[in-house]
């Protein structure tokens, strides 16, 4: 519903807006959907002027159809695929994060969602030389960890310092559920609309600016006890691709393993429910440079 204002189109001056308001025509929809002849009589305005105004308003506010071929050409020229830096994840994602789409990572606490986001951010900014916008809602973003990961990729400080420039190619939100889930449920009726607004803004951002959007989500248990991504059924159509991260429980459950498994649970390009395992320590699988977190002498066990 767009309010009528003077200057919106030639011929729509203040006097005319006032007359229309007096006749209870306040928005563009009212103008377009009412009978022009009757309106011209009621407001004592010329039929021709009103008709011209209606045509201009319609032209300004309609959506134009685009042919499929043009859309395809545009998609081919503008979409980029950003590799995440981790070969196993790239295999699941059909070679990486696609711009213009939202990809979701969900997982329980400690499953490695933030680590994957850091790895992707460092890879995109170092290897692909593009900028990344990182929105952190959990307080888990530590620049020293990013520096650690960067130092694993290159040991020369000149290269580290020369990173930068390039346009923004990725927007990473960690996590979207931390701020939205307190608003959902109960007697609150705003939460759902805010969640869908956020989704709409992210999608428009991704499409208009050709960026890849990566969001993280928490998990909940379904009625049968299975782990599923959070934020409910209303959120599930929003991301184009969804990945579930889990810890890998090996023989010694007390040990702190850095192995994680990723399962593709929704994709429009690949068959689902494929699992890939990867090690959080070696992000780009360069085993010479130990990309692991601080090495400790294990005192016991």
């Amino acid at each position: 519903m767009v309010v009528l204002r003077e200057g919106m189109c030639p011929g729509l001056d203040e006097a005319l807006v006032r007359d229309l308001r007096a006749a209870d025509i306040k928005t563009v929809e009212d103008v377009v959907s009412s009978d022009i002849e009757e309106l011209a009589q009621r407001c004592s305005v010329s039929y021709k002027a009103l008709f011209a105004i209606r045509r201009v308003l319609l032209a300004q506010h309609t959506a134009f159809p685009v042919s499929g071929a043009d859309l395809y050409e545009e998609l081919l020229s503008s979409t980029a695929i950003l590799s995440t830096g981790n070969p196993s994840l790239d295999k699941l994602l059909d070679s990486g994060l696609y711009t213009g789409e939202i990809t979701e990572l969900s997982g329980g606490p400690g499953s490695g969602k933030s680590q994957v986001c850091f790895g992707v951010a460092v890879h995109i900014s170092y290897q692909l030389k593009q900028s990344v916008i990182f929105l952190d809602t959990t307080g888990g973003l530590t620049a020293s960890r990013l520096l650690q990961m960067l130092q694993a990729e290159t040991s020369s400080t000149e290269e580290q310092a020369s990173i930068g420039g390039g346009s923004v190619k990725a927007v990473i939100v960690d996590s979207v559920s931390a701020v939205i889930s307190p608003l959902l449920g109960g007697k609150q009726n705003e939460g759902m609309s805010l969640m869908i607004q956020v989704a709409g803004v992210l999608k428009t951002l991704a499409k208009d600016f050709n960026v890849a959007a990566l969001v993280t989500n928490h998990v909940t248990r379904s009625g049968s006890g299975e782990v599923q991504p959070g934020l409910g059924v209303s959120w599930s159509p929003i991301p184009r691709t969804r990945i579930l991260l889990e810890r890998v429980e090996r023989a010694a459950p007390a040990s702190h393993s850095s192995l994680r498994s990723a399962t593709l649970i929704k994709s429009s390009r690949q068959p689902c429910y494929r699992k890939e395992e990867f090690d959080l320590q070696w992000w780009s699988c360069s085993k010479e440079a130990s990309a692991g977190k601080r090495k400790l002498d294990e005192t016991d066990s």
Partner: protein
């Protein structure tokens, strides 16, 4: 991109009236006077004035801030390099157990929320009391020289124990005095000043806890020297008589976000203790931290204190910054300390002995 009216921070009724009158974007509201707005949307004059103020604030912030700043609602953005410089200035709170400090990269980090979970008697309250004393260690000794706010929900804050820990800390620091600056600092670092720098709040149920967390930002602005908020425990008020579990999850998530906002906004470390509960999965039972799966996402760092036979172990279960590690510690009459195999520290022998027997009982039952 135009900013929709529904994203402004106004009450839902006001937003609905605005949308019904046809105002979708804030750009539509810019050129209106309050009287006009209230006539068109049937809002009261007061509400119309608030709406216009909110709109002007957003526009003014967005226009003036440029690339670095944002509107009144959005926080300013930093580059990773700026964040790194800010982090290097922030120190951590030492726990006096050097192995745990090494695992945590210096100690409990400031500006993050840490959860300490463990079975009863393993030492969660002791660690919180130790932290409340350690945060006050003067800066010339490597500490933060700050104050602490201690929120007690279980009634486990024992003053005599704090006096013991404080006396041990003062003694420890006085042995390290090397130069004049440290000598001067030691004059202000006594048991009395330590006790006077701990602000104790006693909450009896979850409503009081939530109210206290609501009021804390103002308190923190008035007392800028506070560097630690310890909540012992978060689980206790939320596990009593709570029938509606989804409401509990919502309240906890909201609480977590407010704590994170306080930690990053005021530069304090938040330490919370949590209890353990049993989870049955596929016929097997497992001890997991209480308060549910979604609470696991709330703290940034999770420390799990558990028994291994008769030994107390601290494990870093979840942290974006540190590798998972397990260290052994002990509780002595001086507080939270390392286990030192070479010398015999004056440990509380009776406690470890009784605990040994109950520890093995625990092993049998879990």
């Amino acid at each position: 991109m135009q900013r929709p009216v529904s994203s402004l921070s106004l009450s839902p009724g006001v937003k609905m009236k605005l949308v019904n009158a046809g105002f979708q974007f804030t750009a539509d509201l810019l050129h209106l006077k309050p009287l006009q707005l209230s006539k068109e949307t049937s809002l009261t004059q007061q509400e119309a004035l608030e709406v216009l103020q909110a709109v002007r604030r957003e526009e003014g912030g967005g226009g003036g801030g440029g690339g670095g700043g944002g509107g009144a609602g959005a926080p300013p953005s930093l580059t990773a390099l700026e964040l790194l410089q800010k982090e290097e200035e922030m120190r951590s709170i030492v726990t006096f157990s050097s192995r745990l400090d090494a695992a945590l990269g210096g100690g409990l980090p400031v500006g993050k929320t840490t959860e300490i979970c463990g079975a009863p008697g393993v030492g969660k309250t002791q660690l919180c009391l130790q932290l409340a004393v350690d945060v006050q260690v003067p800066q010339c000794f490597g500490g933060l020289g700050g104050q602490a706010v201690y929120v007690d929900t279980e009634g486990s804050f024992l003053l005599q124990r704090v006096v013991d820990i404080a006396a041990a800390a003062v003694h420890h620091c006085s042995l390290l005095v090397e130069d004049d600056e440290q000598r001067v600092a030691m004059e202000t670092f006594t048991v009395e000043t330590i006790l006077s720098n701990i602000f104790l709040v006693r909450c009896h149920d979850y409503v009081e806890l939530l109210a206290e967390v609501h009021l804390l930002p103002d308190f923190l602005s008035e007392h800028p020297r506070v560097r630690l908020l310890a909540i012992d425990s978060v689980a206790f008020p939320f596990r009593l008589h709570f029938d509606d579990l989804s409401q509990r999850t919502r309240l906890l998530n909201g609480l977590a976000q407010r704590l994170i906002a306080m930690a990053t906004g005021h530069g304090i470390a938040v330490a919370m203790t949590n209890q353990m509960t049993t989870r049955l999965s596929g016929g097997q039972s497992q001890l997991v931290p209480a308060l549910g799966e979604s609470w696991g996402h709330a703290p940034t760092i999770r420390l799990l204190l558990h028994w291994a036979g008769s030994r107390r172990m601290a494990a870093i279960f979840k942290s974006p910054d540190h590798r998972g590690a397990t260290v052994q510690y002990q509780i002595t009459s001086e507080g939270f300390r390392d286990v030192d195999q070479s010398e015999q520290p004056p440990s509380k022998r009776p406690r470890t002995q009784t605990v040994e027997s109950s520890g093995s009982q625990r092993d049998a039952s879990c």
